[in-house]
Amino acid sequence: MSYERNLTFNLRIRGLAEDEIAETLDEVRAHQAAAGTPAEAEFGTAEEYAKQFPKTKMRTRGTVVTIIGTALSIAYVIVAVLALFLFRADVRDFVGPMTLLPALALALSSVLAGFLTDYLRPQPRSRASR
């Protein structure tokens, strides 16, 4: 796990905008080149350094994915219950013996997808080169 990728991920979950993250990465690269020491020796671990930046309420793309997935899983449960009471249609006839299993799988998948979205998404383009 590279320092820059780890720092990018930690800055994203603190709600920094992509251009601010790009600028921070440029600073780290520039300072590292000037000092000739590894980034971790100068800035601490990526988690520690990210904590120096104030947390904002801006949602990351991964958080949005998780929210949408969780909302869909809740909607699925509501639809299943309404179908049962209003139309006597048992959702288990279509999805197998456990009513909540698809909803649970969807919710867990969305959490994983959200994490991977923020973690694996490429680092923002350098601002210094623009």
């Binding site: 921070t24 600073e27 000037a34 800035f43 930046f53 210094a128 080169s129």
Partner: protein, 114 residues
Amino acid sequence: MTTVDWNQELIRAALPQAVLAVLRNGESHGYAIAELLRENGFDRIKGGTLYPLLKRLEDQGLVVHRWQHDLAGPGRKQFALTDDGRTELERAASAWQQMDKALTTLRSNRQEQL
């Protein structure tokens, strides 16, 4: 008895003023600022402390930056003092002198016991 690291306490308080003072002499990049501080008696200030401070000073309008690309490598972020930064440095120096004076008076005066 636990001892207080007075040096660290003072560095934390003096660092914003010290960075503004370095930039009063002209624009500079992060590593050069840290080196100049070290040459003038500060402990080695790491990037993890310096850049968030520079960002705060920039957010307050006391410092501005530009990227310099005339050298090989990743480029350098050059910081410079604004007019507000100069004014703020004077205010900070004045406040520091007042504090120093007050402490000197407290240490030298014989306090009456209440």
